[in-house]
């Protein structure tokens, strides 16, 4: 005696050619209202499925596909040319996501996030390079009035003297150890003796 669930399996298997069902299955179906109903539902589902209407794709589809390929390829080539580092990062990300799908890299590496990323880089650099930032130690030193004076005298010496002695004098005038060598001590400003002599 075949059970109804076994009959259902038979019906599912032979749905495309019900005439090939074994005789005992056919007899069971003929005498069982539930199995007849199941067979009717199955036939109807298959009929609907076989007559499903799929809209015709638009005529422009082939051109659209070719254009899409062209655009994506151009974009890829440009990215490879301009952002080789980014391309490497993206490939690392792809590999990582493939093997560790639970963890995903931030959107920064995604194409859509590039404008944001570039804008962020500009803003950050802008902040660091803006004149509002504190001058560095070397900038403070170069703006010192004494250093400015020494530099101007040294420049004058280079212009007026053609001999190598003149160049040496200019060099010595600009050298901060000059004052000490001349015995000026802490009172005189560096290079002041040489400057006086030259003037």
């Amino acid at each position: 005696m075949i059970r109804c669930d076994q009959i259902h399996e038979w019906l599912e298997q032979m749905a495309e050619e019900p005439q090939a069902l074994p005789r005992e299955v056919q007899e069971h179906v003929a005498g069982c209202a539930a199995c007849r109903e199941y067979q009717a539902a199955l036939n109807q589902a298959l009929d609907l499925l076989n007559h499903i209407e799929i809209p015709v794709p638009p005529a422009s589809m082939v051109n659209d596909v070719m254009l899409y390929i062209e655009q994506r390829e151009t974009e890829r080539e440009l990215n490879q040319f301009f952002f080789p580092g980014l391309a490497i990062l993206k490939s690392i990300q792809k590999t990582w996501v493939r093997y560790f799908p639970l963890w995903d890299m931030p959107m920064v590496l995604q194409r859509e996030a590039w404008p944001t990323a570039i804008a962020t880089v500009f803003i950050v650099f802008g902040i660091f390079l803006s004149p509002l930032s504190e001058p560095s130690e070397s900038q403070k030193f170069l703006n010192n009035p004494v250093v400015l004076e020494v530099n101007s005298v040294a420049a004058k010496l280079r212009q007026t003297s053609d001999t190598w002695i003149g160049h040496v004098a200019a060099f010595r005038a600009g050298w901060f150890g000059e004052a000490k060598a001349l015995g000026g001590g802490g009172a005189a400003s560096p290079g002041s003796e040489s400057i006086q002599m030259l003037k």
């Binding site: 539902a41 109807q44 609907l48 596909v65 070719m66 390929i69």
Partner: protein, 189 residues
């Protein structure tokens, strides 16, 4: 020359750098890709996007294409995988199939009737919704068998599944689909 030979020639050309040689492949198979995509998502716009993306993926991976397979088998496989990926990504919440008892439509047999058109469209939508409610493993074999009319062997090759598994999935898919469509049997018939 058969389509398969033409396909192989075109593929060779594309692999050697001639992008335009890809066009005949798109012309021959965009209908197939569109049908599979549409029957797996039930949305024309989404299906069009899928066609573009599937062909782009095929284009990018042509070097890994193995000539012993028919191109059509390969592209179908890419399409099914892409649609399943999309579904996973979007976690599409399909609408449940519920119809009200008072929505039985009377259909005249003779001439054009806008109600008939509406009825057909609704019927189509209900079947597509039912397909979308099936688990992925049932949905893919059902679409390939009944929409694309592929043989069991072709499906097995396309999905890299054993023949027995394909048959089992297909039989269960039919049963599930019948169960899903049963509640609105009176409205549909």
């Amino acid at each position: 020359m058969s389509d398969q030979v033409h396909d192989h020639i075109a593929i060779e050309e594309v692999v050697h750098g001639n992008r335009d040689a890809f066009r005949p492949l798109v012309e021959r198979y965009h209908g197939t890709v569109y049908r599979i995509a549409y029957s797996m998502c039930g949305n024309a716009e989404e299906a069009q996007d899928a066609v573009q993306e599937v062909f782009y993926r095929a284009f990018r991976n042509l070097k890994s294409y193995q000539p012993q397979w028919a191109f059509t088998t390969w592209i179908r496989r890419i399409t099914v995988n892409y649609m399943l990926d999309q579904r996973k990504k979007k976690k599409v919440k399909t609408q449940s199939i519920t119809t009200e008892d008072d929505q039985v439509i009377e259909i005249p047999d003779n001439q054009y009737d806008p109600r008939r058109e509406y009825y057909d469209r609704e019927k189509n939508r209900l079947v597509l919704d039912a397909i979308n409610q099936l688990p992925n493993k049932y949905r893919e074999v059902l679409v390939l068998r009944h929409i694309e009319n592929m043989s069991y062997e072709e499906i097995a090759q396309s999905l890299s599944l054993p023949l027995g598994t394909v048959m089992t999935h297909l039989h269960r898919a039919r049963g599930k689909l019948a169960e899903l469509l049963k509640p609105m049997q009176t409205e549909i018939v």
